[in-house]
Symmetry: C2
Subunit: 450 residues, 2 copies
């Protein structure tokens, strides 16, 4: 008798899990149940979808028919799971009961909206689903002023997209820098300057106090000032969806997300639950930088977790998901900013005493035409000299470099070991003879001696 | 009393050593003696210099006056070292005696020219120095047909430059593929096709038998056929310059290059010589892939070795140079090709049984405009599952990825460990949600099970 695998959620984690389950088992019955209408889409693409740089159909990679036809996976859309019973091993949705041998919970997160007056007015949005993107696009027709709440990467990417569409864009941010939490102020300020040069306005150190208007948003109040707007978009971070995990009594960690084993199994009262798996934005990960929990609400993390969860749910040859440094990258206007491991801000939360190194150069040999600015910053623990984080701002080629530094962090390398162990490829059209990454770590080594 | 440091050679290794020595010691007397007239230039830049994409002055980064003024380093150009006495600790050049406390030998390599008839005819060149580049540039005026001997990266880069100048270019290669030795045929063939589409002609499996002409080259004979040409350029690899090491009785290894300790000290009869250091193309390196020797005649290696040699020569806080995977990259037309560790060819020399994985994707999300093709191949040892090599052909962003894979090889990771340990940054304009590197290693894991 073939096994039943039920996946709840159809984002990157859920659909990766379903596909990996099929790879591991030819005859399992695999069912995905989702509230969404668009499945397997890339939420990171929504800013470019709003701008029209990519079509909405392009960012939704496959529909339910594709999954049925090509992978024999049943995807049930627009359907809310009502109950899950961990003893009977049953999911009930829209009155139908789905028995499971393995369950994968991949219900993601929800945009956190601060509990302010007026947040439910018309033309106030979040950016999460394709539906959100289409609604924003429609509201922007004939609109001029847009306020974005939150200067994280999604907020900034969105600001550039809207600015390129000719809108007046104001970003309101609680902290004193853009990309707070994961980027350091010196690196983030380069991005903010780039955006200010494009005409995007910033209101910093200003918590949003109210959204006001008569039926429809008219202005946003922050730090005592009113900012008029036709459209207001919250890009204020994502909180794990815990309804189903709580229904099942699964262990929730200190970061208010589900605790998972390396196999992506959930726990109940400290004990692994062999038939329940979790993946994606609702999971609390192990940090690769130091023993302890961290959040890694990234598309790339969701896919990797999904592949492990789905494979293990289908009883494929056991796979594991390791501790994370959570590398990220964003293209904001003409600049890429990328980071990995801990920022100064995160390190201070963990009580780590940090020493930084920094170097600047180009993405090509100095004499080769078209080279772009490349700034690399690296962070180490003052006591152990271990690399704990890195950030890059560059005109191109940030992604590979941040993945390289991520490896070093995950492997627990010290700055000094990195200097001995690391080599870089070189040719004038693609790099300097000595990569700026090495120059930054060398600067760090010098500062660690002081 | 301050110490005397003498550096022989003014390439990337020599000048890095001299500069590192100055960083480590404020008061050492540092003298560089070189046969070259241009110092601290980038030999990798010569193809672009010939084409005029970069000026000759730009690729010579600094002159002797710069080193004297900014780093108090005496650079004596156009001067051949006659004798070195390791007992008296003296270098004699142009009749002047230079006593040393530490000696750095960085005399590099010489282009190997097969011992064929006519190799000394006019308009027959090698590509090594700026002078070579200028001479080639002059000879190309009014010339139409150019034959390049050797389809290594320098030969190919040169072929593109000359083709872009409107020349008829024929490459003659002994082996059955371009970039033999360090690239696998399947990856190299993509590059060859790209160049053929540009109108560059290839004559494969054809050792050069003779260069013929009346005073000046008129044709090249290979595999029994004559190829007419106005200019012939040998790009046939580099052999270590061993005159000075042999004069000093230093140990030469099985690859006919100088054996060096991790500190870059030379050896004599198996014993480390504390006051003699080597760096650059004349050094035999330790392989990071398996115990044993390998050559790493790369600009990036030369700089790294030079920095260690110069620092230790000046008695700075001890530094070490580690085993190498020797990542390399080349931009050939619109394609980048990069590699690290062992190719199939090299692995067979070492008797390693190899399993390969491969994946293809794009450099951006599928729906994001402007993404370029990205092919990643990874090689593992069938017995240990350790990653031993990787190659990339891509429209962009090969460099950072190859450095990332280089770290994994140097750290001795297995394919399976790499899958658990590695994360990739993602945003639609700079990457796919799952980097093609991870897809290639996953393919490798599957094949390792078979």
């Amino acid at each position: 008798m073939s096994m039943n695998i039920v996946v709840i959620g159809s984002g990157a984690a859920g659909m990766s899990a379903a596909s990996a389950a099929r790879k591991a088992s030819r005859d399992a019955k695999i069912t995905v149940i989702t509230e969404d209408e668009d499945i397997a889409y890339s939420p990171c693409a929504i800013p470019w979808g709003i701008e029209g740089k990519t079509g909405w159909d392009d960012i939704v990679m496959h529909d339910a028919a594709f999954y049925k036809e090509n992978r024999d996976i049943d995807v049930i859309i627009r359907t809310r799971v009502e109950t899950v019973d961990g003893d009977k091993k049953e999911v009930v949705a829209a009155g139908v009961t789905y028995p499971y041998d393995s369950l994968v919970i991949a219900t993601g997160g929800t945009v956190f909206i601060p509990p302010v007056e007026g947040k439910d007015l018309d033309n106030v949005f979040v950016v999460r689903t394709v539906r959100d993107g289409k609604n924003i696009q429609k509201a922007l027709e004939g609109s001029t002023n847009v306020v974005i709440g939150g200067a994280g990467v999604i907020g900034l990417e969105l600001a550039v997209a809207l600015r390129d569409m000719g809108k007046d864009v104001t970003i309101i941010e609680m902290m004193d820098q853009v990309i707070p939490r994961i980027a350091d102020k010196d690196m983030a300020d380069m991005i903010q300057q780039e955006l200010e040069a494009k005409g995007i306005k910033f209101v910093m150190k200003a918590p949003i106090q109210a959204v006001k208007g008569d039926g429809k948003v008219e202005f946003v109040t922050a730090a005592g000032e009113d900012y008029p707007c036709d459209v207001m978009i919250f890009a204020t971070g994502v909180r794990a969806n815990l309804d189903i995990p709580k229904m099942l009594g699964l262990d929730i960690g200190q970061l208010n997300a589900v605790i998972a084993a390396p196999t992506m199994n959930a726990y109940r009262r400290g004990r692994l639950v062999p038939d329940i798996f979790v993946a994606g934005d609702l999971v609390q990960c192990q940090s690769a930088v130091m023993p302890g929990a961290t959040m890694s609400q990234l598309g790339s993390t969701a896919v990797k977790e999904g592949l492990v969860a789905g494979n293990n749910a289908a009883k494929g040859e056991k796979k594991e998901f390791g501790p994370v440094a959570s590398p990220w990258v964003s293209m904001i206007g003409d600049l890429q900013i990328a980071g990995t491991g801990m920022s100064l801000g995160l390190a201070s939360w963990y009580g780590i005493d940090v020493v930084c190194g920094k170097a600047e150069g180009l993405t090509r040999a100095r004499y080769y035409p078209g080279g772009k600015r490349l700034v690399v910053k690296v962070l180490a623990d003052r006591t152990s000299h271990r690399l704990i984080g890195a950030q890059i701002v560059a005109g191109e080629d940030a992604t590979g470099r941040i993945n390289w530094l991520t490896s070093a962090i995950i492997d627990g390398k010290t700055a000094e070991t990195f200097m001995v162990d690391s080599e870089n490829a070189y040719c004038p059209p693609t790099n300097m003879v000595r990569d700026v990454v090495l120059a930054a770590v060398e600067d760090l080594c010098l500062r660690l001696k002081q």
